[in-house]
């Protein structure tokens, strides 16, 4: 990353101190952005009487690590984590794989009706979830899936409009000469797909998978609609349920539960950060 292309270059040349100002502004911004999370962590480590102190102390006087043990004991944390992981993993595998296949059919292959169906696909991005909510509930009810995890991951195996769109944008940049050369060697479409498109677009596939993972991890409305039994709750729903039960008093436990819900996504992000940010940047040159 360099400042070469920045509109600030000439300003920095003339006033070297301006650079310091920009950094100061950024540090302030970052502090504001990160503060709520730090506050969450700080509160989660305070004993209850310290949370109810005015003015509040920035850091706990005594670090109450037990809060986490208590929280994990009070809410079936591992059960919730397991359910959430099942949904997130299956749905990100499902949507990445199926959306890539479909995006391939929309870019590499030429078949009658393709462009019409692609337009339709784009149009479905405008359909709000509430339109689908009621009839989908009926469909899952007929299937006997209410109260199970199925409604939360099975649909992702049938692709998603936004993901198809993103992957198509990326596939369009892959030069046509490559698959054509393989074609002459007698390779099948599946071989071309797996040997060239998949390896060449690893980072954008990572973006789609990560997006879906985070989406499923954060989703509240879906689990709220379909999960009826506490044993099948996800972390988000469990956290909401926990809050509605204990109400607004035991903030130290609530914050501990929130930290536990947030931590896995943040850790995952640090692992995929590079691929993710690269892929995201490259896919955003939208000329739709």
């Amino acid at each position: 990353m360099s400042a070469a292309g920045s509109p600030f270059s000439s300003t920095f040349r003339r006033h070297p101190r301006a650079r310091v100002l920009v950094h100061l502004a950024l540090i302030t911004a970052c502090l504001i952005f990160v503060f709520p999370m730090l506050w969450m962590v700080s509160t989660s480590l305070k004993p209850i009487h310290e949370t109810m102190r005015s003015p509040p102390a920035w850091l706990p006087e005594t670090f109450e690590w037990r809060n986490y043990l208590e929280t994990v004991r009070y809410i079936p944390f591992w059960e919730y984590t397991k359910n959430t992981l099942v949904i997130c993993t299956l749905s990100s595998i499902g949507t990445t794989f199926s959306s890539a296949l479909v995006a391939y059919s929309f870019t590499r292959l030429e078949w009658p009706g393709r462009d019409l169906l692609f337009a339709l696909t784009l149009a479905t991005m405008m359909v709000p979830f509430p339109v689908l909510m009621v009839p989908l509930y009926g469909v899952f009810r007929e299937l006997g899936w209410i109260g199970t995890l199925y409604p939360l991951w099975v649909p992702s195996f049938f692709g998603g409009a936004f993901n198809i769109f993103l992957l198509r944008q990326f596939f369009l940049r892959i030069p046509k000469a490559l698959p054509e050369a393989m074609m002459l060697d007698g390779a099948s479409e599946l071989t071309i797909f797996f040997r060239t498109y998949v390896p060449l677009s690893k980072s954008s596939l990572a973006v789609v998978a990560f997006f879906q993972f985070v989406y499923s991890w954060n989703d509240l409305l879906g689990p709220l609609l379909y999960l009826t039994d506490q044993n099948t709750f996800t972390l988000s729903l469990g956290l909401q349920f926990y809050e509605s039960q204990i109400g607004g008093t035991q903030w130290h436990y609530l914050m501990a539960a929130s930290v536990l819900t947030t931590l896995p996504v943040v850790v995952l992000f640090f692992f995929v950060q590079r691929a993710f940010l690269r892929g995201l940047g490259s896919m955003q040159n939208v000329d739709a």
């Binding site: 070469a4 509930y137 209410i146 947030t262």
Partner: protein, 720 residues
């Protein structure tokens, strides 16, 4: 209850009852029933029985009840009647309640009144109230009586003046001479004390479940409360000297009027063991068991005959009075209207307007009467519409038409391609269609089953009365008409539009400037970027918790920071508690998670050719000019794309207000999707919810078209 369940489990060995106590039971039972997985037996509120029965969510009990002690003649008629809807038995009373006047004897004595003699007419009540009110230094310290306390029965006052709420058939009877007298009486209290005084006074009143409740704290001398008050007095104000009597009526000598309610046992439809569940109901219905349950909760008995031991062992000092009151010919329950929830909400709003002196009782009653009569007329038309199985197939038909249309279009396109190729079949054409469809097939299924069918089905349902459990009935534009006439719908829509109008532009502007600075900061940019992105990663429920805590009016850190930064000049803000600041608070929180837009914009900015800036430098352009005329136009496609996606997403905002405020206070943060979720899954009005969904869809289509139009003239595309 647990002890009765244990007794039942011991009494026989075929059936084992597992007792689970949950909050908002009615709600959960309904959802579980709709989901096809209900409990065998549930205890719900009396007015839920009507609501559920209306949506065919309950098992009729008449057949089970034959030959068991569950008989109408054993119960007090009003309680029994709560379980009967349109002549069918759906629920059996378990623990009933009855309400009456409670008075503070010490305050009576201090005011020079006989502490053993409660008022016997409304006029006497007013005179006593006047004497019991204590004003010191211009501030009301104690008040004799307030029709606004407690707030749960605003609809009931008319009964003490001889009014009715409904004629049992087609007419709503809210606007009657009796109700007008009653609400003039209500307003007379507001006039006597003044609205400002009353508001100040009531903000010092606490919950019923606390020692700050005005009656228990000795600030209110007389109150209209249920038999349950004794339990609270013992817990929160054990020293209180109090009495209970029937609440006085306008005319002396009329039979005492009381409000009756009850918990009801019901068997949801689709329960796996209805027979066994009813066996438990019959077991509980025995006099000994029913009385044991009432004794445990210190309530009255729903049965006609009451044993002597019941009165002897009962720990409520006024049980005989309450038991008699429940048998009075003047006893009343909530009307069994399927629009009762709406009726209650409407009378509550009407009461508020009268109480705050915003209008006269005559005007308020006439307006509420008109609205409720309209909605009841609509409901009756809706109930009269015949159910139709064909409506269930209609969406499938529409989807088939869509598929045929696409196939037809493809065929035409193909023929044209063939013609262009000179009549020959283009080589590989068939193969490519097969391959294309093969790769496309997962999405074909997704498109059909998870998108096209639901879209069509919700369109069809939006013209129907439909609760997953019943066959849809066609009612034309009924749902749409009802929504457009519904104040809550407009409130939810306005809230949502305000949210979109502020959170989206604020977010994009902030994201733009942060991205500009990140673009300029060579060193450390990736660390800054990660930190700015973190909030966007935080699960919405978790960040909602964090902000709930930050916004907390009492211990919240935000008020502390603002106070410190302004050297105490900024008064603590009641962020989420005050209807005026609640929605802005949620907008503020949403702006915090713009990390995603920042990252995307930054990537776009780094693609801006450096030469452009250099050329501008040579021309001596200012920093602002470069941002305005080079950076902004070149990243505008990204801004534009994010704006469209953002509008669609923000219009559906649900989680933050649902978790943080549940739409409150006073519906200030009720969003469109929350309202839709409530109608669909709280009230099982799936038809109405579908109509709401389609209105949202049309709004999104409209806004997207407008944005596309703006985009054509304003967005700068390079190359393409």
């Amino acid at each position: 209850m647990q002890s009765i369940v244990d007794a039942f489990n011991r009494s026989q060995d075929r059936i084992f009852v597992d007792y689970v106590s949950v909050s908002s039971i009615g709600q959960k039972t309904l959802i579980a029933t709709a989901g096809g997985n209900p409990p065998d037996l549930a205890g719900v509120a009396a007015n839920d029985v009507i609501d559920f029965a209306d949506r065919e969510a309950l098992t009729p009990l008449d057949a089970f009840a034959r030959g068991t002690p569950v008989r109408a003649d054993r119960y007090l008629p009003i309680y029994w009647d709560m379980g009967v809807y349109r002549g069918v038995l759906y629920g059996v009373p378990s623990v009933p309640v009855v309400t009456g006047l409670h008075w503070n004897k010490r305050l009576f004595r201090e005011a020079g009144l006989d502490p053993e003699r409660p008022p016997r007419t409304i006029a006497e009540l007013d005179a006593f109230a006047e004497r019991l009110t204590v004003v010191e230094n211009g501030a009301v310290q104690k008040v004799g009586f307030l029709p606004s306390e407690p707030s749960y029965f605003p609809f009931f006052w008319g009964y003490f003046f001889g009014a009715e709420l409904w004629d049992g058939d087609a007419r709503i009877l809210l606007d009657s001479p009796e109700n007008r007298r009653a609400f003039r009486w209500v307003q007379s209290y507001a006039k006597r004390h003044g609205v400002a005084t009353l508001q100040r006074l009531s903000s010092s009143f606490g919950n019923l479940a606390s020692s700050e409740d005005p009656f228990m704290a000795g600030k209110l001398a007389m109150t209209f409360q249920g038999i349950w008050l004794a339990n609270y007095i013992e817990r929160f104000s054990p020293g209180l000297e109090w009495g209970a009597a029937p609440f006085p009526s306008e005319r002396a000598g009329d039979p005492p009027v009381a409000y009756l309610d009850s918990d009801m046992l019901v068997i949801p439809r689709g329960a796996r063991h209805p027979r066994e569940a009813f066996e438990f109901i019959a077991f509980l219905s025995q006099q000994a068991m029913t009385e044991r349950l009432a004794l445990g909760q210190r309530k009255n008995s729903p049965l006609r005959t009451v044993s002597d031991s019941f009165f002897r062992e009962h720990r409520h000092p006024y049980i005989r009075m309450f038991q008699e009151l429940a048998q009075s010919p003047g006893a009343r329950a909530q009307p069994k209207l399927s629009v009762w929830k709406e009726y209650r909400d409407e009378t509550r709003a009407m009461f508020q307007r009268i109480w705050l002196m915003q209008t006269t009782p005559e005007v308020a009653l006439a307006e509420a009467q008109e609205r409720l009569q309209n909605s009841w007329d609509r409901e009756r038309r809706r109930l009269a519409a015949p159910p139709s199985q064909a409506l269930k197939l209609a969406p499938v038909g529409l989807v088939s038409l869509l598929v045929l249309g696409v196939a037809g279009f493809a065929a035409v396109e193909r023929r044209r391609a063939r013609r262009l190729a000179g009549g020959r079949r283009p080589a590989r054409a068939n193969a490519s269609l097969g391959r294309g469809l093969a790769f496309f097939s997962p999405w074909a299924l997704g498109l059909l089953v998870f998108t096209a069918y639901p879209v069509m089905a919700s369109l069809v349902y939006s013209f129907c009365e439909y609760s997953v459990l019943t066959t849809p009935r066609f009612i034309g534009l009924g749902n749409y008409a009802e929504l457009l006439a519904d104040g809550v719908f407009w409130r939810a829509l306005t809230n949502t539009l305000v949210y979109v109008a502020f959170s989206l532009p604020l977010g994009l502007i902030l994201a733009f400037f942060v991205a500009v600075m990140l673009d300029a900061a060579a060193r450390g940019a990736s660390i800054y970027r990660t930190l700015v992105f973190l909030p966007a990663l935080t699960p919405v429920v978790a960040s909602a918790m964090a902000w709930l805590w930050i916004f907390n009016a009492e211990y919240g850190v935000l008020n502390h920071i603002l106070g410190t930064l302004s050297f105490g000049l900024i008064e603590p803000v009641p962020w989420l508690v005050d209807p005026r600041t609640a929605l802005p608070s949620i907008i503020l929180m949403s702006v915090w998670s713009v990390g995603h837009a920042v990252v995307v914009l930054l990537a776009a900015m780094q693609d801006v050719p450096r030469a452009l800036y250099e050329a501008a430098d040579i021309d001596g352009a200012s920093l602002w000019h470069k941002l305005r005329h080079i950076t902004l136009p070149l990243v505008s496609p990204v801004v534009y794309f994010n704006a469209i996606i953002g509008v669609i997403g923000a219009l559906q905002v649900f989680t933050q207000p649902f978790v943080m405020t549940n739409g409150g206070p006073a519906r200030a943060t009720l969003t469109y999707t929350m309202r839709l979720y409530d109608s669909a899954f709280k009230f099982l009005r799936m038809g109405e919810a579908s109509a709401m969904a389609w209105i949202l869809f049309l709004i999104i289509l409209g806004l997207t078209l407008v944005l596309v139009r703006i985009g054509r003239s304003r967005v700068h595309y390079t190359g393409a």
